[in-house]
Symmetry: C2
């Protein structure tokens, strides 16, 4: 019944974790596996955009998804290449013609000198006129997803200190990405969706992190109508979710959850009394970053 996702974390990849020696509370020497964290500089054509700190898997997805979620790479752009250079720690995303973002940076440079301030404004801009589809979300799916995701192989269970985001279809996890920053994990999923031309309308996004404005904006930018998490909410995250009509479900623990936006999509088809409470190992996995 528990199917493997199409793409999932590979806890055995030697590039993603490292064994480090230290001393424990008794003074004894211990070896611990810790996750890697390396810089990756993303270019849009010849424009350097940002240096992200990442575990380093799926750099192409990360670059594409980041640019898309920031509104720097619109759906109208034709991507002609995504070149990852492991040695230089760079990804260059190439488009057929100069993007609106590059034009803006060029103009902005002439006036105030730095384009940092425009990024957030552009993200909200990308949400104007957005209509998310009214796909139903069954509570039985939410319980099934939490159950499966908590048991999947992951770097979290191996080394801790990492966030997970999972793209789901109904009760089935499809793509599970992990990263030191939860925004990176989401961006990698966005990049995968772009390259696979995946339809967002019938998807649910699951995250181990908090439901902040940033997470809500990214989910909406991806066109996904529902975002679920075991962690909590911020007020602005809720406000933006309500503005764009996104279904926002948080504090999923065992049989409990709270929906603070878009409950018109929810179908209460599961009897909470029949949902098992969780063991402590899985409680830990989900509790990250609340």
């Amino acid at each position: 019944m528990t199917e493997r996702p199409i793409i999932g974390p590979n806890p055995l990849d030697p590039r993603l974790t490292r064994s480090v020696s230290g001393r424990d509370h008794t003074g004894a020497t211990v070896d611990l596996r810790v996750v890697e964290e390396r810089p990756l500089t993303i270019f849009l054509n010849s424009q350097e955009v940002v240096t992200a700190m990442t575990i380093g898997d799926y750099p192409e997805y990360l670059a594409l998804g980041f640019l898309r979620n920031q509104g720097m790479l619109g759906p109208e752009e034709t991507v002609t290449g995504v070149d990852y250079d492991e040695e230089l720690e760079t990804v260059v995303v190439r488009t057929a013609s100069r993007t609106t973002y590059e034009e803006k940076v060029r103009k902005k440079t002439r006036t105030s000198g730095c384009a940092v301030g425009t990024v957030f404004g552009d993200m909200m801009e990308g949400l104007e006129g957005l209509v998310l589809p009214d796909t139903p979300v069954r509570t039985s799916w939410l319980y099934a997803l939490a159950h499966q995701i908590n048991r999947m192989p992951s770097l979290y269970l191996e080394a801790g200190a990492i966030h997970g985001t999972v793209l789901c279809h109904q009760d089935r996890p499809l793509v599970y990405m992990e990263d030191v920053g939860r925004h990176n994990a989401v961006d990698k999923i966005a990049g995968w969706m772009m390259l696979e031309k995946a339809d967002p309308a019938d998807k649910i996004l699951y995250t181990t992190g908090r439901l902040t404005s940033e997470m809500v904006i990214k989910t909406a930018m991806m066109g996904i109508p529902a975002l679920a998490s075991r962690s909590g909410f911020t007020a602005w995250g809720v406000e933006i979710a309500r503005q764009v009509g996104l279904t926002l479900i948080g504090r999923m623990r065992g049989r409990r959850f709270v929906c603070l936006s878009g409950d018109h999509r929810l179908v209460w088809d599961a009897d909470p009394e029949l949902v098992a409470e969780e063991g402590s190992r899985h409680r830990r996995k989900g509790a990250q970053d609340e």
Copy 2:
């Protein structure tokens, strides 16, 4: 025995949380308190530097600490004013003369157009030649700190979805800051230290978040020789801590912890067998963001 810190979170401040209505797993209507998250744009003189997402308390500390920790405001600069405008959501930090950072931005603008890429480089630059003092860290202090911090009034216990960072002297918490981003909580402490001219040499920094490169760099920039957390490590965080000789203690849970850097400062003066294991409420508080 448990003294109140000099400055701590104020869970009752109506500006920091909001009550939001939603529906729970049974379909019943529920009210939930959620933390605020608002933009704050930081200026260094006339140069716009960044827009941070923050809960909004202590904006002046946040601005000062951010600029200091990013290496944009050196110890040699004379701060002549810190002006917070609640309506515009801005803080302007003014210095007696133009800062090196502003000069760099001006030069960079003429060449490649955006200064984003320099930020990280400058942070590492600020660590060159840094020598952290060999102040001892007693394990009995670590246990005492964890015990007190877990029981302090906090927005986390009130509304969740928030990080805490605590400046400590030996076994005593001095300043407890919370924010939606753990980097903001640390920056607010750095700002407080600047204004109070607090000596970092005999301090320990405690965070609820993960021990990433960013957290290690900020702690070192502040001149604090020890950083402790209940959460886990990243490989690069450990590597930088070892380079600068910072004591890095993670996975503090009840009697257990692991030290992956700078264990020469540790004095094992407590018998772990005598340290009580924790109740589930406090376990939750600390588990945030692992």
